[in-house]
């Protein structure tokens, strides 16, 4: 029964997945997360401080916290056989180092991936440059991780 559910309705499944992306992108645009000047100002308490980002995080985490509780009561998602949720609970150096490095990059450029990807829709050349550099960083790190894992 479930297999019929998730392998059927492909146009509806694809449309609703696209719509989910639209809602995310609209939220990023509306909230100001799309604007590096606004994001950097959240962190510039000693200068031109703009506390808007706290409201973005509050709204997003609040809605997701309640929504996840309802959704994860289901035996499975609507269009897939099972939920695919990270089970790793280990606090390791790679996580802390990675998060620390991410923050340094975010503080330098003002874009995070969730802000920059929707911003690509405007075809702004600065956004394209950031995303190209982002992808280069992802691919280089993967190469290094793969190389060190093999030794």
């Amino acid at each position: 029964m479930w297999s019929g559910m998730y392998w059927g309705h492909r146009p509806m499944r694809n449309f609703l997945t696209y719509l989910t992306g639209v809602i995310f992108g609209t939220g990023i645009a509306l909230s100001g997360m799309i604007n590096p000047a606004k994001v950097l100002n959240f962190f510039d308490v000693a200068g031109s401080w703009d506390p808007s980002l706290a409201f973005v995080m509050g709204g997003a985490v609040g809605v997701a916290f309640i929504g996840y509780r309802l959704v994860l009561k289901r035996p499975a998602p609507v269009f897939e056989p099972a939920f695919d949720v990270p089970q790793n609970r280990k606090l390791d150096m790679r996580l802390i180092l990675g998060a620390g490095v991410f923050g340094i990059g975010w503080g330098i450029a003002g874009f995070c991936p969730g802000g920059a990807l929707p911003a690509l829709g405007t075809a702004d050349v600065r956004v394209i440059l950031f995303v190209v550099a982002l992808i280069a960083g992802i691919l280089c790190t993967r190469k290094v991780l793969a190389a060190t894992a093999n030794t």
Binding site: V22, F24, A64, I138
Partner: protein
């Protein structure tokens, strides 16, 4: 560069970000992390895996145009840093999110909403280093 404090728009926008995270879990059973979606699309596990990621990315880039249809103009994108900083920042973000397996959306929103200890530690760490970096860049280096 001054920006306007927008508590209402930011709260509504944040709510939409949370709603999208809940919908992706309900429909596809996935965490809505921009890093994970992009990184996975660069090396998809299967055709189905590529399709949902591509649809999410296509939806995301439509977001500014929904904004356009409501407000009659694209959302402001003001970059107060040089092209060099933009490229350096992008590359460094790429390193960090790959090591940390997530960014503001995956850890900061989805992970915290799931009460994941990893995501709380990641979010606390990057908020701290972002704050320190902005302080150093703006008030020590004066860039």
């Amino acid at each position: 560069m001054e920006t306007t404090f927008t508590p209402v728009l930011s709260l509504i926008g944040g709510g939409l970000i949370g709603l999208a995270a809940v919908l992706l879990m309900l429909l596809r059973g996935k965490i809505l992390g921009a890093t994970g979606i992009l990184a996975g699309a660069l090396r998809p596990a299967s055709r189905n895996d590529f399709v949902w990621r591509a649809l999410m990315l296509a939806g995301m880039i439509s977001g500014p145009w929904v904004y356009f249809s409501v407000f009659g103009g694209l959302p402001a994108i003001e970059v107060p840093v040089s092209t060099g900083y933009l490229l350096l920042g992008g590359f460094v973000v790429g390193i960090g999110v790959t090591l940390a397996s997530g960014c503001t959306s995956g850890h900061g929103v989805c992970g915290m909403a799931r009460l994941s200890p990893r995501s709380f530690v990641a979010t606390g760490t990057f908020m701290l280093t972002t704050g320190i970096t902005v302080y150093v860049v703006r008030h020590v280096l004066g860039a």
